[in-house]
Amino acid sequence: MNLNKILKNTFIILVVSLVLTACATKKTSTSSSVSGQMQGDTYTGTDTVKELAKGVPDRVFFATNEIVLTTASRETLRKQAAWLRKNSDINVVVEGHADERGTREYNLALGERRANSAKDYLMTYGISSDRISVLSYGKERPVDSGSNPLSWSKNRRSVTVKAN
């Protein structure tokens, strides 16, 4: 084989592989914009999130059947705690929720657990237990009526609401 042919073939191979990787990259980037809303099973997006105060998100999200606080959740709760320390006359209700993929009564208990998980974390930042009451809604108050994993992940939440 002469040099020209080798060069030509290499060139073709290079171009093809570049195109292929480009396609591959494109694929990953589209899927990450969807999965950018979820990390594993936990919702990480901002859709449905309201502000308790400026720069303070009002809610944290959970994985299926879980009450564990993710890093993002803990950051949100730290902001809430900071705001509560600054506004010591405000009391809050932490509302716990579950998605619809479980039995009703168990979900009421799970919602209560999630709310307490958030409350306990707020308390580690010096907020008195007297200022935080807990209310579980189980699966009764979904914010998203969809029947898919993304909708469900938005419903697995603990929301901090001003009580007074």
């Binding site: 009703r104 009564e105 168990y106 306990d120 807990v134 914010v143 029947s147």
Partner: protein, 446 residues
């Protein structure tokens, strides 16, 4: 080949002695039993009186229609078309011509008579075995005219019991949660209806969230969860007086309430600081007793009919499973071991089975298992269904289903469904509105 040898052998045997021939009949048809329900006979005077009082043209036909509908809905009987009936109700009740009924293939016949007497409703009815040409049963009773629908249900219970050997479940009511509105903003009301869907009544107005109602064994009281004033607590409601009261004075959410079989206690879950345990409260002396004590979620308790045991839902193993313990909380044993999550255990009134909800690989199942956890049988599968409740004869389960919504989040509905223990006769239970959380009463005439 072997048969040929036997054949030769048999030739040599004496042939005069004949062994009794036995033929095994192991097959038949599993079709509902054809039954003819004749309109009840009613004399003109009674007919006019009932029309005046109840606004019903022909009470005899109205009552027999209830019997017919009940028998049909049970899935075990096939009530035959009245157009084909040859005998008039009055004659049929006195002396049926069995050939006539046999002609239309009826195997059993129900006849009777309704009379207005002393301002009361008197009914007598008979059940006939058409093929044997014999009367199987004859009963009479008297009641107030406004109870005319119950008369139809009581007759059905008697006929059903005589023809199946099991107690009926027709003179009963169902309490449930009526639902309306979008999924994200549901209006829920406590509702009650006869088992056949009639006499529907709302017991709350829809101003606060209400959930998971249960009948007391006396059928006069109901317990349920209400979010009145945003405080989720278990309440007691007297159906007749309308009087409501909070159960106990708990410093936190109480939920998942049921009555003990003697009606004297309420058993429920109490949630505090992230932990849900099972408690009872005596309705007379108001003494509260803690039954379970574990950092896990313990909920959905259900007594055995003799009151000696409790089955409940706990995630102490890491996931929702079903447990059984003594009614004092001791001797806790896990009984569910299949793949998936288990919830809502309910002990059958017959004491032999526990019904439950199971979630596995994204699908919901209603199933039953023996009280030691063996013999697990799944009866039906769906996108979402849960919370079975037993008919008082331990034969039929009522539960609820929710539908999937479309990509826009629309099309949500919740409906009551029922299924026979054998897996037969799965059907929707009609309700005026969407419905969930059904609970079956015991027989009203007990």
């Amino acid at each position: 080949m072997l048969f040929r040898y036997l054949f030769i052998l048999l030739i040599l045997l004496p042939i005069k002695v004949f062994a009794l021939i036995e033929v095994d009949i192991t097959r038949g048809n599993l079709n509902p039993l054809p039954v003819a329900v004749s309109p009840l006979d009613i004399d003109k005077n009674s007919k006019d009186n009932f029309k005046r009082i109840l606004k019903k043209e022909n009470l005899g036909s109205e009552i027999s229609a209830i019997v017919e509908n009940n028998l049909k809905q049970s899935g075990l009987f096939n009530p035959l078309n009245k157009e084909a009936f040859l005998q008039e109700p009055d004659i049929a009740n006195l002396k049926p011509r069995f050939e006539d009924w046999n002609l239309i293939k009826a195997q059993a016949l129900v006849t009777g008579k309704v009379t207005f007497i002393d301002e009361k409703l008197r009914v007598e009815f008979r059940l006939w075995d058409v093929l044997a040409g014999k009367e199987m049963m004859a009963l009479a009773f008297t009641t107030v005219p406004s109870n005319w629908r119950r008369v139809g249900h009581i007759i059905t219970d008697k006929v059903y019991e005589r023809l199946t050997g099991e107690k009926g479940y027709f003179d009963t009511r169902i309490i449930y949660i009526s639902e309306e509105g979008p999924k994200t903003d549901r209006i829920k009301k406590l509702a009650i209806m006869d088992q056949d869907g009639f006499n529907n009544k709302f017991l709350t107005l829809g101003n606060e969230l209400v959930l998971t109602p249960r009948f007391s064994p006396t059928n006069q009281m109901v317990t349920y969860l209400s979010y009145f004033r945003n405080l989720p607590r278990v309440y007691l409601l007297d159906i007749e007086t309308g009087k409501q009261e909070v159960v106990g004075d708990f410093p936190g959410m109480t939920f998942a309430p049921r009555f003990s079989p003697d009606g004297k206690k309420i058993i429920m879950s109490f949630a505090k600081d992230g932990n849900s345990d099972i408690y009872t409260m005596d309705l007379e002396n108001r003494i509260v007793e803690r039954i379970s004590n574990h950092p896990s979620i313990d909920t959905s308790p259900s007594y055995s009919p003799d009151g000696k045991y409790i089955t409940f839902n706990s995630d102490r193993s890491g996931y929702q499973q079903i447990y059984v313990m003594n009614s004092n909380g001791k001797n806790i044993k896990r009984i569910s071991f299949g793949n998936g999550l288990y919830g809502t255990p309910v002990w059958s009134p017959r004491g032999d089975l526990i019904a439950f909800t199971k979630l596995h690989k994204g699908k919901f199942y209603i199933g039953v298992m023996r009280t030691d956890g063996t013999g697990e049988r799944l009866l039906t599968e769906n996108f979402y269904q849960e919370a079975p409740s037993w008919s008082p004869n331990g034969r039929v389960l009522i539960f609820y289903r929710e539908s999937k919504t479309n990509s826009k989040g629309e099309g949500f509905s919740a409906k009551l469904w029922s299924i026979d223990l054998t897996g037969y006769n799965e059907k929707m239970v009609e309700t005026e509105t969407d419905a969930s959380d059904p609970s079956w009463s015991s027989l009203l005439s007990n």
